[in-house]
Amino acid sequence: MSMTSPMSPLPVLSAKDLASDQEVRWCPGCGDYSILAQMKKALATLGIAREKMVFISGIGCSSRFPYYMNTYGFHSIHGRAPTLATGLKVARPDLHVWVITGDGDGLSIGGNHLIHAIRRNVDLKIVLFNNEIYGLTKGQYSPTSRIGTRTKSSPLGSIDNPLRPLSVAIGAEATFVARTIDVDINHLTEVLKRASAHKGTAFIEIYQNCKIFNDGVFEYATDKSIKADNTLYLEHGKPLTFGKDRTKGIRLHGLNPEVVALGNGITADDLLIHDERAEEPSLAYLLSRMVYPRFPECVGIFRCVEHPTYEDLLTKQLEDVQRSKGRGKLEDLFTSDDVWTVE
């Protein structure tokens, strides 16, 4: 049921067309601004009509996102965005649906809906703004905060092991898994484009700086002087290299990755080759386990494989029975049990 009205403009959009009339309200310096800007940039290039786009979010600073997009939007309740998005996609497979969530919204209260949307492979683009903190509620630690994080709710340091968002998503066999960084605007834009091109659940973690309550947690990955040593940009089919001039690489030792310096005997051939299309998610999982400071952290597309989507399978079941048994008539429904007539 496509509702695009005939007089709708050809989907040639500029980023500006995608800005709503609402004043954007995040703290000065918040990483969310960049994500909003790149999202508009990326979507403008897709040739998708604005009215076909829907942004659904939960609650959090990040979840204010839909108000700022001149598309259809739903600022729902805490942690539940994937459920509304699933319902919408089941009803309207024709729409291009994005889910915007945070590390608290998506992995604390909303963790279960996240893995179930992922396992069903509903055609949703789920963007998790990971700032390792609860921003909106003014700075408690989150499920992604590193052990020892001192916040209002953990004055002596947090003691809960953090979840790695990508490991969780891969645990649920996500068909598309990626990571990018708020300030790496070109990479961010690219990843968003790749995600929207994927048919099925796309899960994207974005390292996002919370200027007010967690400023600098991702400095190791964003600071010009050191980021090259602490991040590894994945490229499909290429060996895993990183560092200035990419002189370092990742080699597998059994199932354990190890950092090696290229040269004296060690060549690119010795390195682990990235394969985003690997049917088995074990490689993606292994990459998601590489954590700073022991390893550079991978950014890019970890996994991208094609599986049928939930809504397509459901639609197919409907079409198949209707083809084989014919479309149901109410009369059949009414008389589905013994009928008798009283004169």
Partner: protein, 638 residues
């Protein structure tokens, strides 16, 4: 007893026939004995015969208990009559007990002098022990006072199917049909419908088909040919309104009604739910209706199901979810979101015994106040409740109409008794059904800073906002759970706007009262007592009221099928009677509302036994209330 060989005595039955107005019979046995099936078949046969019927299945707790134990007993009660009836019957004329446990748990409901058919083969020492009998009731004389018919059902059944190739276990599984055949004879029911059912069901399995056919007939012949039976009985056709009928349970009527209403409204139906007793069957029915374009989703939990329903409605389908009380707790936050975003969704609550996990397989109606108030903030929603199994069709139709007409979540309060109970349903003429019109706007409806814009919270005269859906160019808009500015729908923290919106949300729901039928009474237009109820207690209240009227009392009954808002004339109706009595299967929830709204000293009759009211219970309370003096200051302790 020894059984003479049927062959020899085929022919005219020695027994006479007696005419009865109504009969209540219960089939009781082990969960494995197929009593639900026997009961259902008996119901069909009676319905097809033209009797009015009302049934009450009684399941044991969810998990199958060990065979032969008291906890494992399953029962199915059928009330059939030549006049129109409204309840499954208070007490039993006939009880079929397939084992000692069934006898023990059900005997108390059998009228003295009632017919007791027992499977004599099931009363061995160990059977008696499992049921906790010290002595054999068939021999210790404890059953005098009943017309006991001991039938060696196992043995006779095995004989009947002897020539069919079946394992002993398979053979024994047929014995419920032997008992059924016997009872068919006893009440002159036609065996044809059941034979047809057997053919359809076991077509792929000739042996089982043959065996069930034979044993059903054998049971029937056994009745006809043995003298040990009392006279047998006839219950004439009921004088029902002409038309086509079928038997229907509440959950069936609900599923069929949902599909009918949405199809007539051209509204795609998305049904998202998480299984829970006693609501799961609705999912089972709808999941099997893909031919009708129904999209069902089995969600990961109730919260997700509610979220999916909201998402579907945002997309222009009708989002519907169903659960029981514990699930309503979980959905409540998201229901608040639906209230704030003013989207049409239907929340079905098939109530069961509470609190907490409570008694999952038993009925109760104690979620009314939860539906009214179980959300944070001032969060009004519409509430309707069906009065009988077949009425689930009408009221779900109403729920759909009100949800889309007023852009609001609507609660549909069913219960375990309505869901599983059955009665005849007159198949409606499609074109006689109300039309539900849904319009999605395609054009902007106002101006936002200068240019044309869509204002999601702009309202019509009824205070209803427009249902603009994604995919419509130029109507892009954002909604959410934060307080909204009226008209624009922008987030607003303005104090006066908030107060205004709280008022608007309440007024919109109140406006529904303008478009629902007035409250009517059965009985005198004014008098000494009004008995008012809601939900599944309708039949019992109506019957009790009629009995009181026959006794010449100035007693009327009324039933609220719309609970929020209530019909406009509710107060006026209440005030026409000296006293008001509200029988409820809870501690007094409707009573609480009526007292608060109208300051009327409503008296309560409250039962929380996980069972429906007996007509007699209400009858007695009516007599008592009519008798006693009562001051206007009596206070409730809730």
């Amino acid at each position: 007893m020894t059984v003479s060989n049927p062959e020899l005595e085929v022919g005219a039955s020695p027994n006479g026939v007696e005419e009865l107005e109504s009969v209540t019979i219960r089939f009781a046995g082990d969960s494995g004995d197929g009593m639900q099936l026997a009961g259902t078949q008996f119901t069909n046969a009676s319905a097809v015969l033209g009797n009015d019927i009302s049934t009450l299945p009684d399941f044991p707790a969810e998990i199958r208990a060990p065979a032969g134990t008291l906890a494992g007993v399953s029962g199915f009660q059928v009330h059939f009559s030549s006049r129109d009836i409204h309840t499954p019957g208070d007490s039993l004329n006939t009880l079929v007990a397939m084992n000692p446990a069934a006898l023990k748990t059900n005997l108390k409901d059998l009228q003295s002098g009632g017919i007791l058919i027992v499977n004599a083969d099931a009363f061995g020492a160990s059977d008696l022990h499992k049921a906790g009998y010290k002595t054999n009731p068939l021999e210790d004389g404890s059953l005098k006072g009943y017309r006991v018919i001991k039938v060696p059902i196992n043995k006779l059944n095995r004989e009947a199917v002897a020539e069919v190739k079946l394992s002993p276990r398979e053979a024994d599984r047929c014995k419920n049909f032997f008992a059924l055949g016997l009872v068919y004879w006893l009440y002159e029911r036609p065996v044809e419908p059941t034979l047809r059912w057997i053919r359809d069901k076991f077509g792929k399995n000739p042996a089982v088909l043959e065996a069930n056919t034979r044993t059903l007939k054998a049971g029937y012949n056994f009745g006809e040919t043995t003298e040990t039976m009392p006279v047998h009985y006839r219950v004439a056709k009921a004088q029902t309104k002409p038309g086509r009928y079928r038997k229907i349970t509440g959950n069936e009527a609900l599923a069929i009604g949902l599909v009918t209403a949405t199809q007539l409204a051209n509204l795609p139906l998305v049904y998202a739910t998480y299984p829970i007793t006693p609501a799961s069957d609705i999912l089972h029915y709808l999941a099997d209706m893909k031919r009708f374009g129904v999209r069902t989703v089995q969600a990961e939990d109730e919260i997700a199901a509610m979220g999916m329903a909201i998402g579907a409605s945002f997309g222009g389908s009708l989002g519907v979810t169903a659960t029981s009380g514990p699930g309503i707790c979980l959905k409540s936050e998201a229901i608040g979101l639906a209230v704030m975003t003013e989207l049409p969704v239907i929340i079905i609550d098939v109530q069961r015994g509470g609190p907490s996990t409570g008694l999952p397989t038993k009925t109760e109606q104690a979620d009314l106040l939860q539906a009214m108030f179980g959300r944070n903030g001032e969060c009004p929603a519409c509430i309707v409740a069906p009065a009988s199994p077949a009425d689930c069709f009408n009221m779900i139709f109403e729920a759909v109409r009100l949800a889309v007409t007023f852009m609001t979540p609507v609660f549909f309060l069913s219960d375990g008794y309505l869901a599983n109970g059955a009665e005849p349903w007159m198949i409606p003429k499609i074109d006689s059904l109300p039309q539900i019109v849904v319009k999605h706007p395609t054009e902007p409806n106002g101006n936002g800073n200068g240019q044309q814009a869509f204002l999601p919270y702009k309202r019509d005269a009824r205070l209803v906002r427009q249902w603009a859906i994604p995919g419509t160019a130029g109507l892009e808009h954002r909604i959410g759970g934060l307080e909204k500015e009226d008209v624009t729908g922008n987030v607003s923290y303005d104090p006066l706007n908030h107060e205004h919106m709280v008022g608007i949300r309440a007024k919109k729901i109140a406006n529904i009262a303008n478009e629902i039928p007035l409250l009517t009474v059965n009985g005198p237009e004014e008098g000494d007592l009004l008995v008012i109820g809601w939900g599944g207690t309708y039949g019992a209240i109506l019957s009790a009221g009629e009995r009181a009227q026959h006794k010449g009392h100035k007693v009327a009954t009324a039933h609220l099928r719309y609970l929020n808002p209530m019909p406009k004339n509710t107060e006026e109706v209440l005030r026409r009677y000296k006293k008001v009595l509200a029988p409820e299967l809870n501690a007094g929830q409707l009573r609480m509302l009526l007292r608060a709204y109208f300051l009327v000293d409503v008296i309560g009759l409250n039962k929380t036994q996980g069972r429906p009211f007996l007509v007699s219970e209400i009858e007695e309370k009516i007599a008592q209330v009519l008798a006693e003096k009562r001051g206007a200051s009596a206070t409730v302790k809730v």
